[in-house]
């Protein structure tokens, strides 16, 4: 099964856009045959990624800009690319905190990694700031063939 773009959403990088992003990712996952639980986990991972763009990519630097969320289906499951137009960051500096240290915040990157099978920052195309690739594989029995 070749890669197939299910949807690409471009929204302002603001807190109010997160509901829209969640709705889009959830619908795409359900259309690909995912269960509600599987869809929830991918939705949460993408929400955390976009939240970090809103708070750190744009917010920390007083910038504003768009977030593009693109959902692709392939034979194994779904991949979501989150692209921002903020200052490129060194992925090595983005790390989850130690969970033993109980304090508010610092969970986003940890959740993104825990909820997905792939979580990698890709080389951004010219003009973009950062591109994060999040993939999650479906259980074996939902993988074969086209979407349901």
């Amino acid at each position: 099964m070749p890669d197939r773009i299910l949807a690409s959403l471009c929204v302002p990088g603001r807190a109010e856009s997160l509901r829209l992003i969640r709705g889009m990712v959830r619908e795409a996952a359900l259309a690909r045959g995912a269960t509600a639980e599987w869809a929830h986990d991918l939705v949460l991972a993408v929400d955390e990624a976009c939240q970090n763009v809103v708070r750190h990519g744009y917010g920390d630097h007083g910038l504003s800009g768009d977030v593009i969320v693109e959902v692709t289906a392939n034979g194994e499951g779904l991949c979501v690319h989150v692209t921002d137009f903020a200052t490129p960051v060194d992925p090595a500096t983005i790390r989850p905190r130690d969970l033993e240290d109980i304090r508010p915040g610092g969970l986003g990157v940890f959740l993104m990694r825990a909820l997905t099978d792939e979580c990698v920052w890709e080389a951004p195309p010219p003009g973009a700031g950062n591109v994060l690739r999040l993939c999650k594989w479906l259980p074996k029995n939902s993988r074969e063939g086209e979407h349901t």
Binding site: A15, E16, L18, R19, R22, H40, D41, L44, D47, E48, Q51, V54, R55, L99, I102, R103, P104, G105, L107, G108, F110, L111, A114, L115
Partner: protein
């Protein structure tokens, strides 16, 4: 998302419903910290929460820490499976005090 606060048997009940995310979690934080500021135990009724992200969890962790410092009970009641999943992933299921519903929380938790 909706937040409402009520008082029962000297405890503050913070009732949350809907989706708690980066946009709505500041309201949760305000309600939790306001209740703690007034003194007494706080019970969070999470039965109506359909979604919670790390910013919502952060508001709860902040409440938990303030309550511990004040020596009052801070209880999560009626936590849905979706919310519990997030708390488990964050390994907070061993940190918070849970009760199946508000009545039990008031009778046994505080």
């Amino acid at each position: 998302m909706s937040v409402s606060v009520s008082n029962r048997g000297g405890a503050h009940i913070v009732t949350l419903a809907g989706e708690i995310d980066l946009q709505t979690s500041p309201q949760v934080r305000d309600a939790v910290l306001d209740s703690l500021r007034q003194g007494g135990a706080v019970v969070i009724d999470m039965g109506g929460i359909s979604y919670i992200d790390s910013s919502g969890v952060a508001s709860l962790v902040e409440g938990f820490q303030v309550a511990r410092r004040q020596g009052v009970a801070f209880i999560l009641a009626a936590v849905s499976p979706a919310a519990m999943r997030v708390l488990q992933l964050a390994r907070l299921d061993k940190v918070f005090a849970f009760q199946p519903d508000v009545d039990t929380a008031l009778a046994e938790g505080i």
